[in-house]
């Protein structure tokens, strides 16, 4: 089980800000996970938006990063400041 976080406006699309998930083994990279989740939530590309960054275990990463060992994966739209 891996923890997936959806921040800001993404939680409006996914209906949740956090979930525990078994990522299928064929989803190997952050980029593949984006696409898989976007379809799963019928998000019409909200998760594919290039301004949405992905963090693995609290570190901002690239779409090519492997996700199989990630304990926590966060989808982060542009930050709004405090």
């Amino acid at each position: 089980m891996q923890k997936i976080l959806y921040f800001g406006r993404l939680s409006d699309v996914t209906g949740t800000s956090e979930e525990m998930l078994n990522i299928p083994p064929e989803i190997e990279t952050a980029g593949a996970l984006r696409e898989w989740l976007d379809l799963r939530f019928d998000a019409s590309g909200a998760l594919l938006d290039p301004t949405v960054r992905i963090a693995i275990n609290s570190e901002i990463t690239f779409d090519t990063a492997p996700v199989s060992n990630a304990a926590e994966i966060a989808f982060m739209p542009p930050v709004g400041g405090g």
Binding site: L5, F7, G8, R9, D12, S17, A55, S58, A74, M76, P77, P78, V79, G80, G81, G82
Partner: protein, 153 residues
């Protein structure tokens, strides 16, 4: 010192405590930011602020460390509220103490620019017409850019 919490911020009490610790400084500058009663969409009912621990903390701590290298500061305090807030509530409180008041002013200003543009927070405003997520204003980006310009000019 940094504290991110859903508890209300009492700016007066925080200033008093900060003052009692910063006894050898000549001057203290504070900034407190409140939830505004009005948004573009009308009167604000609720402001919701979301952070991502520990990324939010790490980012703010880096900005505080940078302020310390740029200015001769005796102490820095950053308090940030998260969760649900209402108009008039204090969202953020920054205090800087320094022997020279210019350092205290510039460091507080710099930290606020970081907090308003780059800090890892997501912000949702609820008005009578619904809820919407807010992204930084162009003003905020211009404010933050002042500090990088300084280095290159």
């Amino acid at each position: 010192m940094l504290r991110i919490s859903a508890e209300p911020i009492d700016a007066g009490r925080e200033l008093k405590q900060f003052e009692s610790r910063a006894t050898s400084a000549g001057g203290i500058v504070t900034f407190s930011g409140q939830v505004r009663p009005h948004a573009k969409q009308g009167p604000v009912d609720t402001l919701f602020l979301q952070a991502y621990a520990p990324m939010t903390e790490t980012g703010i701590e880096s900005a505080m460390a940078e302020a310390r290298t740029r200015w001769d500061l005796e102490s820095i305090l950053v308090l940030h509220r998260i969760g649900e807030m209402h108009p008039g509530d204090t969202i953020v409180f920054v205090a800087t103490a320094a022997r020279h008041r210019r350092a205290a002013f510039e460091a507080a200003d710099f930290l606020m620019d970081y907090l308003k543009t780059e800090a890892v927070f997501w912000k949702k405003e609820e008005t009578a017409t619904g809820a919407h997520w807010i992204e930084p204003r162009d003003d905020d980006y211009a404010d933050a850019a002042r500090w990088t310009k300084k280095e290159t000019v």
